[in-house]
């Protein structure tokens, strides 16, 4: 059964495969790790499918900037409930490196994190099955915010409060 995920506020079947899941499937869009990409980029490019990049919290985006154009998806890993480096990676990808593709949270992702993840630019979430049906409402936990937002089309005005949900 394909993985289900929450993407752009809809529960969808995931058409993407991680490289570890892709044995025998040469057509599906593929997510590779940073190491796989750096070691073997020609092979992946020759595959001809859409490519995604899986990054760990310790990866420095600055060193990957030149390659971002090859990817239509970036999956940031959250190793547990305490590691918040992915939030910074998300904002940098959207705000500094202008990444327009799917920005996915993977690993330890629960409904209680979704609101902040979305505000940092994530638009797709790999949630446990138990959480997925209820998770949508978490995206509207708060209807205002005190900081600039990544939600497109919303102008941030310091402090006056802006609707955060798009």
């Amino acid at each position: 059964m394909p993985r289900r995920l929450l993407r752009d506020r809809q529960i969808v079947a995931d058409e993407w495969l991680y490289s570890a899941e892709a044995a025998g499937n040469s057509l599906a869009p593929l997510i590779v790790t940073v190491d796989e990409w750096l070691n073997d980029r020609e092979t992946w490019l020759a595959r001809g499918s859409r490519l995604g990049l899986q990054i760990a919290p310790a990866h420095k985006l600055e060193s990957l900037v030149q390659d971002l154009g090859f990817f239509t998806l970036i999956a940031a890993e959250f190793p547990g409930p305490a590691d918040g480096r992915g939030y910074t990676q998300g904002r940098l990808l959207r705000e500094r490196f202008d990444f327009k593709g799917e920005l996915r949270a993977t690993g330890y992702v629960r409904r209680d994190q979704l609101f902040f993840l979305a505000r940092c630019g994530f638009n797709s979430f790999e949630l446990p099955e138990a959480d997925i049906e209820d998770a949508m409402s978490a995206l509207s936990t708060f209807s205002a915010a005190y900081q600039p937002s990544n939600d497109k089309g919303l102008k941030f005005k310091l402090r006056r409060g802006i609707p955060a949900g798009a």
């Binding site: 918040g84 939030y87 902040f116 505000r119 708060f142 310091l158």
Partner: protein
């Protein structure tokens, strides 16, 4: 003071709903203990030795009389009739029931209060000078800036899962009454070379296991850039701070391992990319925030001599428990929460209600929490101080000991905290029993005694003129003594005098330290200055020269 608008109110109400739902899921078993822990810790809720402990935020220590009445009501209805004021200007309740916490939060929201980010690895309550806005020589009232930072830090989506907790203190006067040098970030309002007001930014201070004094990252930051600069510091810390070892995760360790120069370089490089973004604080916004902190309607009074014809007791109280006010005819009045026999920082529901009434009658309806765990009525007409004193005296709130030996800063210790190695409240009691002669206490002059029940240093022992740290020695409560620490603008870390001592010997040990001081001091010299001049040696020798008689 700052008043909520629709946005603030909406956010706090939505937070109550979110936490109510999280609590419901935990009680229903769909959230595991560990998952719920990460969520409740973002809301000041600890599971402690006896019961949950709920810490409620008091932004920069400022309360309205109405808010204080609500805190009193919560103490009575959800707790055992008291609350504990902390060194970060918050209040803690030690006996709430987990399932009632959402209701407590809803009551707090009614009076524009919350428990958001009072624990957990996020940006904590913004603290400040308890004499902000009223102290002579202040460059500018720091509270509008505290509120600007508070809002930026509240539910910051990027910085809610930091490597460790993050504490910011802001001051606007040359004297540092907010311990800003031992905060993760200290913000000082300063005047730049061009005459404009801006900020000096410090980073990397902190207490705990590895106490470090903060260092200057930027000498002068133009005011409009405050938030973008803080964002740069937090971003570098979030990305680079250690996450492999809880005891090395504070920003002070990052600053130390990179070195100040390299840390600063990274912050500045990040800031270059952020400085002209959406976080600029424009003059209109500053003016709007200042509007919330306008001086109250002072009467035209002149300074009086309130001593004239008054009792010795009143005069002692006036001398120790009131402070200078920049407006003629006014005085700031400390409410001592350090009565002998009472846990330092504790106030009962009835006391809080009385103080709310006194705030209405004497001080424009506001009251402040000091980082030394006392309260303050900031704007009292000098001519009414005697009347106020009589009412405080009756309620046990006029102990004339502010800034003296018995004005002890103290964490909840072993009695309440699951982290503590040793009791601290009962040690405060022993000290109070031993030193009950006010002539002697006053003769000693300014003396900060600070006590923590464990390495986490919630009682700031490293920066006490005398610091007392609880240690566990084969299951017994022992205490390590330091001297020479200070928390102000001349902050320093205390030096250990020698091997730790059992609880019963703490008062005698302090007595011996004070004997050396009394014998050796020069005119006008404080205990701290004598320690700085002589070093630890003479104190150490006296303490360990002879065994303490049982």
């Amino acid at each position: 003071m700052y008043r909520y608008d629709l946005t603030d109110r909406t956010l706090v109400n939505e937070r109550v709903a979110q936490f109510r739902d999280q609590t419901r899921r935990f009680l229903a078993g769909t959230l595991s203990e560990d998952e719920f822990r990460h969520l409740r810790l973002r809301n000041g809720l600890y599971i402690q030795r006896h019961a949950p402990m709920l810490r409620v935020s008091i932004p920069y220590g400022l309360l309205s009389a109405t808010q204080l009445r609500t805190l009193a009501g919560i103490a009575r209805r959800y707790d055992r009739g008291y609350g504990h004021f902390t060194t970060r200007q918050n209040i803690q309740y030690n006996w709430p029931k987990l399932e009632e916490v959402p209701d407590i939060l809803a009551e707090l929201a009614e009076v524009e209060m919350h428990a958001i980010q009072t624990s957990g690895n996020c940006i904590r309550n913004i603290t400040s000078d308890h004499l902000a806005g009223i102290t002579p020589h202040e460059l500018e009232d720091p509270r509008p800036w505290c509120e600007i930072i508070r809002q930026w830090a509240t539910f910051h989506p990027e910085f809610s899962y930091l490597p460790r907790k993050f504490k910011i203190a802001v001051t606007g006067a040359p004297q540092d009454r907010a311990a800003s040098l031992v905060h993760d970030v200290g913000v000082h309002i300063v005047r730049g070379e061009n005459g404009d007001l801006g900020f000096e930014i410090l980073a990397g201070g902190g207490l705990g296991r590895t106490p470090i004094i903060g260092q200057v990252v930027r000498k002068f930051l133009p005011r409009r850039h405050l938030l973008s600069y803080l964002e740069a510091i937090l971003r570098v810390y979030n990305a680079e701070g250690r996450r492999d070892n809880l005891t090395k995760a504070r920003i002070k360790i990052l600053v130390r391992s990179l070195g100040l120069e390299e840390f600063t370089r990274r912050v500045e490089a990040e800031w270059e990319l952020l400085r002209d973004g959406a976080l600029g604080v424009d003059d209109a916004e500053v003016a709007r925030m200042r509007g919330f902190f306008h001086p109250p309607a002072y009467r035209a009074l002149t300074d009086t001599n309130p001593d004239a014809g008054k009792s010795t007791a009143f005069r002692a109280w006036y001398r120790y428990n009131t402070a200078a006010h920049k407006v003629a005819g006014y005085r700031a009045v400390y409410v001592s929460l350090k009565k002998p026999g009472v846990a330092p920082g504790d106030a009962t529901d009835a006391q809080m209600e009385l103080l709310a009434d006194l705030a209405d009658q004497f001080s424009f309806g506001e009251i402040r929490v000091t980082h030394t765990q006392n309260l303050l009525l900031a704007d009292v007409a000098q001519e009414r101080t005697h009347e106020l004193w009589q009412m405080l005296e009756k309620a046990g709130l006029a102990t004339p000991n502010i800034g003296t030996l018995t004005d002890i800063i103290c964490c909840p210790g072993l009695d309440f905290c699951s982290l503590a190695n040793a009791g601290s409240i009962d040690v405060a009691k022993l000290i109070n029993e031993r030193f009950d002669d006010y002539d002697y206490i006053y003769d000693l002059g300014e003396l900060d005694v600070k006590m923590s029940g464990c390495m986490n240093a919630c009682g700031h022992h490293h920066v006490g003129h005398i610091g007392i740290l609880g240690v566990d020695k084969s299951g017994e409560e022992w205490y390590q003594i330091t001297i020479g620490g200070a928390a102000g603008a001349d902050a320093s870390l205390g030096m250990v005098i020698g091997p730790s001592i059992p609880k019963s010997e703490v008062p005698e040990t302090i007595a011996r330290l004070l004997d050396v001081y009394v014998e050796e001091r020069q005119p006008e010299e404080r205990f701290l200055d004598t320690v700085r001049r002589l070093g630890v040696k003479p104190f150490k020798e006296r303490v360990y020269a002879a065994p303490v008689a049982a």
